[in-house]
C-alpha cells in the first residue's frame, strides 16, 4: 500500500482525535476546519518519523496538541461564552446534565492552551506518566497541575451553573 494511502486510512480511523482537539481549542466551525487541515498536514509531514513503536493514537495526540498549541492563525479574542455557544450542539430541552456540561465547557474555555492539553489527555484516560511524556514534564508535575486545574474548573463551572432548588 502506498504510504499516503496507508496514512489516510490510519488518520481516517483516528480522526475523532483531531475533532476533539479542534473542538477544544477553536471557537467556531471555520476555525475548527482550518485547524483540522493544519493538524492533518503536520501529521502527514511528521509521518515518516512514525516508527510504529508507539500507538498511532498517542503519536497523533502529540502532533495534534503541538499544532493546536502553536497555532495562532486568525486567532480572535476569545470568551468563554463564544466557545460554549459554538460548541457541538446540545439538546434544546433544558436538562441538568446538559447544563452542567455547558458550564464545564465554559470553565474549560477559560484555561490556558497548556491546561487544555492536560484536560484533553486526562479525559482520554492517559496515565500521569504518559501525559508527562507527551507534554515533556514529570508525572509528579502533571499530578500537581491536574489538581490545580480540577479545582479551578470546579470553581469556574459554579459561576455558570445554578442547580435547581
Amino acid at each position: 500500500m502506498p504510504e499516503s494511502a496507508e496514512f489516510i486510512a490510519l488518520l481516517s480511523q483516528h480522526r475523532n482525535i483531531i475533532h476533539k482537539v479542534c473542538n477544544l481549542y477553536m471557537d467556531n466551525s471555520e476555525q475548527r476546519e482550518d485547524l483540522f487541515q493544519e493538524i492533518t498536514l503536520q501529521a502527514w509531514k511528521s509521518y515518516p518519523h512514525f516508527k510504529g513503536d508507539a500507538r498511532f493514537s498517542t503519536w497523533l495526540y502529540r502532533v495534534a496538541l503541538n499544532t493546536a498549541i502553536t497555532y495562532f492563525k486568525k486567532e480572535q479574542r476569545r470568551s468563554a461564552v463564544v466557545l460554549a455557544t459554538n460548541f457541538p450542539e446540545t439538546s434544546d430541552t433544558p436538562d441538568p446534565v446538559q447544563e452542567q456540561l455547558m458550564a464545564m465547557y465554559k470553565a474549560i474555555a477559560t484555561l490556558s492552551k497548556i491546561d487544555k492539553a492536560l484536560v484533553m489527555l486526562y479525559l482520554e484516560d492517559y496515565s500521569y506518566q504518559e501525559i508527562g511524556d507527551m507534554l515533556g514534564i514529570t508525572a509528579n508535575n502533571v499530578a500537581v497541575k491536574m489538581n490545580r486545574v480540577k479545582s479551578r474548573l470546579k470553581e469556574e463551572s459554579k459561576k455558570h451553573y445554578e442547580p435547581a432548588q
Binding site: 499516503s4 489516510i8 486510512a9 488518520l11 481516517s12 480522526r15 475523532n16 475533532h19 476533539k20 479542534c22 473542538n23 477544544l24 466551525s29 475548527r32 476546519e33 483540522f36 487541515q37 493544519e38 492533518t40 498536514l41 503536520q42 502527514w44 509531514k45 511528521s46 515518516p48 518519523h49 512514525f50 502529540r62 502532533v63 496538541l65 503541538n66 498549541i69 502553536t70 497555532y71 495562532f72 460548541f87 457541538p88 452542567q100 456540561l101 458550564a103 464545564m104 490556558s112 492552551k113 497548556i114 484536560v119 479525559l123 511524556d133 507527551m134 507534554l135 515533556g136 514534564i137 514529570t138 509528579n140 508535575n141 500537581v144 490545580r148 486545574v149 480540577k150 470546579k154 463551572s157
Partner: protein, 217 residues
Amino acid sequence: MELDDLKQQLKQKLSQPATEYSETDIALLLKGQAQSVLDKLKRSLWLEIIFSIVFTIAFIAVALSKAGFVMRAYFGSFLIITVGFGLFQYYLVKYIDKTATAPLPVKENLSVINAILSRYVKRVYWLSMLLLPLCLFYSLWLHQIEYSRLHADVAERIFSPKTTTVWLKALAAVALLSIPQHFFTRWYLHKLYGVYLQKLRGYIQELQQPEEKVAGL
C-alpha cells in the same frame, strides 16, 4: 460539579465533528499549504534564498564587467556576503526540516520553535542595523583607495580637513539613521514574530513552573 463526573459526556461531546471528513476529503487536505509559523518562516527563507541567487547573479555580472575597480571591488565583496547569506538561509531551512518535523514532547517542541524564531529575529535585526553603515563606510574606504591609485598626493588628501569632514558627516548620518532604523526594525519584527514569541515563552514558562511553587499556590 467535578470534571470527573462529566468525563464520559465531555469525551462524547468533544468527538462531535464540526465537519465530517471522508478519506477522499483527507486526501484533498494533504494537498493544501501548511500555515504553522515555521512553515511560514520556511517560505520566507526560500524567498530570501531566491533573492540571494538573483543578487549573486547581478553582482557577478557587475564584478566581471568593465566597470571601474571600486565598483568591481564593492560588488565583488557583496557577492561573497550574499553567497554566505544564501547558504546560511539554506542551512536554516534544512535545520527546520530536521528538527521541527519530528513530533517532540510539547515543551521541547515549544523550545525548538522559540530557539529558531529568536535566532532568526536576532539575525534579521543585526543584519538590517549593520547593512547601512557597512555599505556607506565600505564605499568611502574604496573611494579613498581608488583616489590613492590615481593620485600622488594621497597622504595630503586622506588627512585633509575635507576628507575628515566627509567621514564625520557619514558617521553622523549613520548615527542619526540608526535611531529610526533601530525602532522601525524592532517594531517590524515585533509585529511579525514578537507577539507569537511572547506567547511561546509564556507556555514554556508555564510548563517549567517548579513543582514546589505550583504546589504552594
